[in-house]
Amino acid sequence: MGNLSTFGTFTMARLGIYASQYALNVTGNNISNINTDGYSRQSLDQTSMNYGAADRYQSKYDVRANGGVLATGVNQLRDQYLDIRYRNEMTKVGEMDAKLDGLNQLADIFDEVNKGEDQAGVLEARFNELIQVIETQHQDQNTNQDDIDKIVRSAAEALAIQFNDYAKQLETLTENKIAEFRDELDATNTILTKIRDLNASIRKSEVFGGSALTQRDERNLLIDELSEKIGINVLYETENLGDGVEVEKLKISTSGDPERVLVDGIYAAQLSIAKTTKGYDANGDEVPPKDATVARWETVENENFNLNISELEDAKGNLDPADPNMTKQVFSVQSLGDDASDWDKVKNVVKRLTFDNSGGTTAAQKAEAYEKALNEQYGFTTSGTGGPRFHVSDTEMTDGEKAAGMYVVHFHMGPSGTEYNFVNIDDERVTQLNDTELSGGLQAMRELLTEAGEYSTAATLSRDDLAYDADAATKRGIPYYKAALDTLARKFAEVMNEANTLPDEVVYRTNKAGKFVDETGAVLADQTDRSTYVLREEYSYYDGGALFSNSGNTDDTEGITAANLSISHSWAHGSVHVLQSTQENATSRANDNLAHIIATLTKDHDFVYGSNTTGVTSFKGTFQEMLTDTIAGTLAKDQNITDTMRDNYNTTADELYVDRDAIMGVDLNDEAMNMMQFQKAYSAACRLMTTYDGMLDKLINGTAV
């Protein structure tokens, strides 16, 4: 006979009851969370219980059944493949959403469809009005100069104001987008922090045997949200805690090349806008940071909005000992200003320095390395005490300052100069991301703020754009439209001023050698002083000159942009008029120059885009074509393409969401079936118990003496 356990079946029935109860709990949890955002359906893991090793003297006729069921845990039903694909798609959706939002706001500014109501002016209409007004004066053969000037100036002023208004709106849009970018960055950092904290919570739970399923759901929701802002790769690793205990470790890195780690288990990084150090001399003019005339430094945000990733830290600020990001060390120095005892000023001015992480491990070694790097950065010699130089001390701090990673930095101006004390309060290490390491909403916002497309200059392209992004010269953000509008305004002013001005050599008296002379024929002492020039008799009527300038207070035509395009001071005050004729001895009825101005305003011009690293490109067309083609037309095409791409990615993301939901979502039909099944199993287990109870009762009470 085989071994029969007298009460083993009771245990079996009990285990069956427990398992059914657990299963019903899980089913109930699923049903109650059916509408919980991000909830992943759970299922009970069950395994059949085995008794273990075979008996040495077990009979070959023995029959052995297993010992019942064990509920080993609850797991989530999720498909990681679909998670990955969904998040990749959401990165693209986030990118297109951010880009389209910016383009739509640009389209609101360059609204050429609206007929000028509610401040949504039509630049092309203003051009046409100006041309129309000049044509009318030309056809009517108006001889009243003041009338002509007044009418034409009014239309010109309306056009200039429209340019100014567009430029101001672009500036406002830029400021709003920068604020939005900072908000998005803050939101991203908040998500990274939350994921880190959840990782810590899940880790703790796993150490004590829990599964932390609710926290995992919360974490998955946050990762989904993060994927819209940055392209990410998510990796689930295991961390060995010793004694055979392994816990899960989540790692999130950027999906660019190279990968930068954002979250590594219980450590997370933070993103920030990179900073640039600028130097200013005693007059407040900007000079190179290493220049000897530098009186103060100022650290400002990088104009390309490059991002830094900080060191990986846990919730208590401890660094990740295996941080893979750090390749550079940043030494942050704060100036005390003129008053060395004014510690409040410490926080205002920050100098930052990057150098290879070879500073050693001890404070003294680090201080030596910082000192060397600081002096190298600013071109100072460290030998002797003759000239200006930095000296870094690792011994002059208080215990608290030491614990905070502080060093005292002295800046010696020279033997007789003032000594300034700086205090390093932030021995911070960051890694700067290059131009295309990010993808997603953040990158789209960066490109909207910085990319000038065909208007990229050698300086902007040298900001490592082309090294990492071959398309840098073809991406168009707000700077492109600003530059295009400025080009249009500048060309318009140039053309109008040229049409209204005759060369000095033509209208003013000169001798045969080409020198300007006075009424008596004497050569003027100062050939450049235009106020001494004398008009030729044939041009005694001449009162032409610049009609547009860069400010209403001057006649300066240098650096005209859409923001500063103005009626020139002379035209506004009547010393310059619209030139009706350029003929010699022109009568008051001659208005050939009006026809010339009209022809100039309606003909093709070369609009020079500006130089990039490989040469000059241009657009050839009328002013209206420049506006409708290069500005509005290009914007419309970009909008169209971005909209189409966003729809494509959105549709795919929706489908992936549905596919994902099919696996992780709660299906009431399934749960109802499970409920019935487990309820039956529970009843059957109870029945088994009562049946066996009856059998034992018979055995014990029915057969005993």
Partner: protein, 145 residues
């Protein structure tokens, strides 16, 4: 030389039209995958193969034309700067148009690929489940009453 550039611009227009065809094909393929139309997908892939051969031939022609203009290995982004002054506006317009069509094609191709891969993944999961179905484990059903 101007004629050579104009010929190249015409070629770019042809290439752009081919990309438009490919874009439509990718959209059709995506739609076929979404409605589980295997034959439709097969048909699209055959057409795609044919167009790919055309694309390859056009690529060889592109290299020949560029070599004839002295612009071997010059990317599309460098075409405008390397064009004669009088043809730059035309070059810019042609390059911009081609780039836009290419961007749209890549987007449609990405979507088609993602949709196809996710459907293949689902098929793989079903097949994996099927592998453990009783019918595949060699068991015998007892149909005696």
């Amino acid at each position: 030389m101007l004629d050579a550039f104009r010929e190249y611009f015409d070629f770019m227009e042809q290439l752009g039209r081919l990309l438009e065809q490919l874009t439509e094909l990718e959209k059709e393929k995506t739609a076929a995958v979404r409605r589980d139309d295997l034959l439709g997908v097969d048909n699209c892939m055959k057409q795609e193969q044919a167009l790919s051969l055309t694309l390859r031939a056009m690529d060889r022609k592109r290299e020949t034309l560029l070599a004839g203009m002295g612009l071997r290995d010059v990317a599309l982004s460098g075409l405008v700067q390397n064009s004669p002054e009088e043809l730059r506006p035309e070059a810019r317009a042609a390059a911009e148009k081609l780039r836009s069509r290419y961007v749209l094609y890549r987007s449609a191709a990405d979507v088609a690929r993602t949709t196809l891969e996710c459907n293949l993944h689902q098929i793989e999961r079903l097949l994996a489940d099927e592998a453990y179905a009783p019918a595949n484990r060699g068991s015998i059903a007892d149909i005696r009453a």
